[in-house]
């Protein structure tokens, strides 16, 4: 057994190192950001080669209802002022970077991203503002969960709602909604009333119209300032983009401010 032990040991070290690099490397060695502009809507851009979604057919509105007049109306409304539809008028101060988050109840990664974004917003001391959009793509439960999320948002519990959903599946039953509102400490009656309200329906149409305009194929999706991102993205990248958007400003898309 005169095999050189150093060779064996360095082999093991190499294998372990290689494995670790393969596992964690991509997060550490992300290259510099390169952007490419998108044609529509004007002024926005995406990260070059940054998403796997480009070859998909752009998704076509909510579920299967074709030619819903409300969708056309919503698209016209949103097109008139993309910036406010996206960021809900959160563009007042030059110092605040707006972030629009699109999530769906059935998307596993969305709930994680919601919490990461909430943490970034909290840490920023008011210099990052996240605007929450719901993009229910998969049927009725998805749609009702989205309405409940938006109703929770109206009582300041959007993130708590998503955190609560991490533990159990959403059920569209009165008992479940009562339990849920108790758990996250919001007014149950107001939530149920809001879920059925015109304003939430309109908000969903607007979010869907935005998703159509930005050609989102799925969730999660983000717009940070004027950069459009589809799919999961690392915390580091998000922070990096926020800082970049802060220095560059978003006047090109939100000139009304």
């Amino acid at each position: 057994m005169g095999v050189d032990r150093r060779l064996v040991l360095s082999g093991i070290a190499l294998a372990a190192g290689g494995f670790a690099a393969w596992e964690y490397g991509p997060a550490l060695f992300e290259g510099p950001l390169q952007f490419e502009p998108i044609d529509d809507p004007a002024g926005f851009r995406k990260i070059e080669g940054g998403d796997r979604s480009t070859a998909f057919d752009p998704f076509v509105g909510l579920s299967s209802q074709e030619s819903d007049p409300n969708e056309a109306i919503a698209e016209a409304r949103v097109r008139a002022d993309i910036c406010s539809a996206l960021y809900g008028g959160e563009t007042g101060s030059a110092d605040v970077v707006p972030v629009a988050s699109f999530s769906d109840y059935y998307c596993p990664y969305c709930r994680i991203q919601t919490q990461k974004l909430a943490e970034i917003e909290n840490r920023s001391g008011g210099r990052v503002k996240v605007v929450w959009h719901e993009l229910p793509l998969l049927g009725e439960t998805s749609d009702l969960a989205a309405k409940a999320a938006l109703a929770a948002k109206r009582q300041g519990a959007y993130v708590a709602f998503h955190k609560r959903l991490m533990k159990s599946a959403f059920r569209a039953t009165p008992e479940y909604l009562r339990l849920l509102s108790d758990d996250i400490g919001i007014d149950h009656d107001r939530m149920v009333a809001d879920m059925a309200s015109e304003s939430i329906q309109e908000e969903l149409y607007d979010s869907a119209a935005l998703a159509g305009i930005f050609a989102f194929v799925g969730t999660p999706a983000l717009v940070i300032g004027k950069t459009v991102i589809q799919g999961q993205i690392s915390d580091r990248r998000i922070e990096q983009l926020i800082e970049l958007e802060r220095t560059e400003g978003i006047d090109s898309i939100c000139s009304t401010a």
């Binding site: 057994m1 050189d4 979604s53 990664y109 793509l137 159990s168 599946a169 059920r171 479940y176």
Partner: protein, 706 residues
């Protein structure tokens, strides 16, 4: 550590192999394949085993065939914490009464702390389609709602269509694919040999605890409980005992609703899986051993620590380490002019060197574990490669201790060791200790391997304790000298007694090697064991005759060793897939035999089946394997005869044609009262089978059987 390298190699080979298979498996346009939906995430189509609907056929065996591109996944019927299973709407179809998805056993995905169950790369979801009008043409129109996720979740909504005209014939390629994945659908435990012994939910609904058994032993078990749509489960804590045959698992319940519906549990283990609905008991099953108790029994920890210490102590007399110790001792003897304090601190530094190496090993183990390599204790004893490595190492060292050949330290090490020892100051002493530990690795691999395997399953503190104890054992002579420097002069002189010690140790190692060989026979079969033994004998003979000298000799030895280690992977025939435990002993189909048997007064039950035939599987599970029918078929005077049509068989095809049938399932009962045979319907019922058996027989046998 050595076997881990082998393991990496094995994965590489497996990847290449799978890749080659997937290329070979690329299909040409078959007749029974729908149009294809293609997206960047998935390629989807409907396939059917039958090219057409045979006269009288009531069902079609189909599948939703999905080829997912790298990184994309889709979900099981119970998707885990979030996600949605594939849904198919058949309402636009013609002549489809019902279509049931049979879910192949899922795989667990963990990402960002979320547990998901589903499929990657490829999956065919077998579909058992029953027809409204038997024997009539079918138009399959599948509106599929499929959620696929990679780093983005995309809902794919598409339609697939496939028309099946009247007629016969089997599409061999589609049939094989359906059969492959139908074979992955969990059974009720009868064929897979998996069963759930007990299940209970903790009073505070914090966890589901269950025990299960495998007749052939678990190797890579996983547990997928389902408790209604509301309850989400976390990652299970799975522990094996009884040689891997008994499983205990605790699955955290992340959230439980106010009411709990019926529990359904799917156990998977490699290629087999079973789904059962155990009754909940009051008492929580006790784990076979404890891993994470706040204080894991002080006695246990002490015992393990003591074993590790003794193991470390024994390492000192191993052929690799003994020279280091003697060099160190003799150098201390020679330099008589050193002060006692200098000797003491020098030896302490050496002991620290030993410990440093052990702590480094502990750190690596912790790292491996954090990378997700938590191997259950005892599992490695089911891995033929691990067993072969251990056998080889133990056999070689036993041979060495019997004096058949000498193990020489690489000369570069010896020089460096001497140089390090000459280095003034404690750095040299420290290096000596570290070297002793490094040099001990070839001899200590069996012990360290065991310790690492155990440590991987333990807590961080356990890992630290075990390795520290090992280090203290190995460093004991140095510590002893440090405590009583005078001892140096009283060390026993080398002499014939050392040969006896060596013989004793050799015998112990040889016994261990024999035990491992015995385990290997059980795991990988006699052929593998003979191969490994022969290879090892040649290696030992080569070393003892001195043929493995120089570069060429060493390369030859290394090649041979690698062959011995890799061989088992190829030779090992997968454990005989748990022979079906059905009560019925089927006789192979022989048409000419039927008439002869009937003429002697026997009743013959003919079952034409195939692996890809989903309705046949339903018949088997719901009727043929059930007690009343199974015992009727096992009764004297009844001959159950099975024709396997999985591969095209001219004799079986002609037999079916004789009845004007071109599809299966097909069952006929012959007897003295029905020499022409009573044809049973496609979807069997127990009553129908029993009635036919009674009508066909002369009556007497069956009344006896009842």
């Amino acid at each position: 550590m050595f076997n881990r390298l082998i393991h990496f190699g094995g994965i590489g080979v497996a990847i290449v192999f799978v890749f080659a298979l997937s290329i070979m498996g690329a299909r040409d346009a078959g007749a029974a394949v729908s149009d294809v939906h293609t997206s960047p995430a998935v390629e989807a189509r409907i396939i059917t085993a039958e090219n057409g609907i045979a006269a009288g056929a009531r069902s079609v065996s189909a599948a939703l065939d999905l080829e997912l591109r790298a990184g994309w996944k889709t979900y099981w019927r119970s998707p885990g914490e979030v996600g949605i299973p594939p849904e198919i709407d058949w309402s636009e179809s013609e002549n489809v009464k019902e279509a049931e998805i049979l879910w192949p056993a899922p795989k667990r995905f963990r990402a960002f702390g979320i547990e998901n169950f589903g499929y990657e790369k490829e999956v065919a979801l077998p579909l058992r389609i029953t027809l409204e009008r038997p024997g009539d043409a079918v138009m399959l129109r599948a509106a599929v709602n499929l959620l696929v996720c990679s780093d983005i979740c995309v809902p794919e909504i598409f339609e697939l269509s496939l028309d099946l005209p009247k007629g016969g014939g089997i599409d061999a390629q589609s049939a094989t694919r359906i059969a492959d994945f139908a074979g992955k659908v969990p059974d009720d435990g009868s064929a897979s040999g998996l069963s759930i012994a007990a299940a209970a939910i903790a009073k505070d609904t914090s966890a589901l605890v269950l025990t299960a058994r495998s007749e052939t032993g678990f190797s890579t078990p996983d547990i997928f409980p389902e408790l209604g749509p509301e309850v989400a489960f976390g990652a299970p804590d799975i522990r094996l005992s009884d040689g891997g045959r008994a499983l205990w698992a605790s699955v955290p319940i992340l959230y439980a609703g106010p009411t709990l519906p019926e529990l359904r549990v799917t156990i998977t283990d490699g290629t087999v899986a079973a789904t059962q609905t155990p009754d909940l008991t009051e008492d929580l099953p006790k784990p076979p051993f404890t891993l994470r108790k706040a204080v894991p029994g002080l006695g246990d920890v002490l015992a393990i620590t003591l074993v590790a210490f003794i193991g470390g102590l024994i390492l000192n007399v191993m052929p690799c380490v003994l020279p280091v110790l003697s060099i160190k001792l003799s150098s201390a003897l020679k330099s008589g002019n050193q002060t006692r304090t200098r000797i003491r601190s020098g030896f302490l530094a050496s002991a620290l060197g030993v410990l440093a190496f052990m702590w480094a090993l502990a750190a690596i183990t912790l790292l491996l574990r954090s990378l997700g390599l938590s191997v259950g204790w005892g599992l490695q004893f089911q891995n033929p490669s691990f067993l072969s490595v251990m056998f080889l190492i133990l056999a070689l060292f036993a041979a060495n201790l019997f004096g058949m050949f000498e193990i020489n330290l690489p000369s570069s090490f010896q020089t460096r060791l001497a140089r390090a020892d000459g280095t003034p100051g404690h750095i040299g002493d420290f290096a000596t200790g570290a070297f002793a530990a490094v040099l001990a690795t070839p001899c200590s691999a069996p012990f360290l391997g065991t310790a690492i395997a155990f440590a991987l399953a333990g807590r961080g503190i356990d890992i630290l304790l075990i390795f520290t104890a090992l280090g203290l054992g190995l460093a004991a002579p140095y510590l002893l000298v440090a405590a009583r420097p005078k001892l140096v002069s009283r060390m026993p002189k080398p002499g014939p007694w050392m040969i006896w010690v060596k013989m004793l140790l050799g015998a112990l190692l040889a016994l261990t090697a024999l035990w491992l060989l015995w385990v290997l026979v059980g795991v990988a079969g006699t052929r593998t064991a003979i191969f490994v033994t022969l290879g090892t004998l040649v290696l030992v003979a080569g070393f003892s005759s001195g043929r493995f000298r120089g570069r060429i000799g060493m390369s030859a030895a290394a090649l041979l060793a690698i062959a011995v280690l890799i061989g088992p992977g190829f030779l090992t025939t997968p454990a005989p897939a748990a022979s079906p435990v059905s009560a019925t002993t089927w006789v192979a189909f022989d048409r000419s035999e039927i008439a002869r048997l009937v003429s002697t007064g026997e009743t013959v039950f003919v079952d034409v089946t195939a692996d890809w035939c989903l309705t046949c599987k339903a018949n088997k599970a719901l009727v043929l394997d059930r007690d009343s029918v199974a015992s009727a078929l096992a009764a004297p005077g009844v001959v159950p005869m099975q024709a396997d049509w999985t591969r095209p068989d001219e004799r079986i095809s002609r037999y079916l044609e004789g009845f004007g049938r071109f599809g299966i399932p097909f069952n006929v009962v012959y007897g003295p009262n029905a020499p022409e045979g009573i044809v049973l319907s496609e979807l069997l019922s127990s009553q129908e089978v029993l009635d036919a058996l009674e009508r066909a027989s002369s009556g007497s046998e069956l009344t006896r059987a009842e």
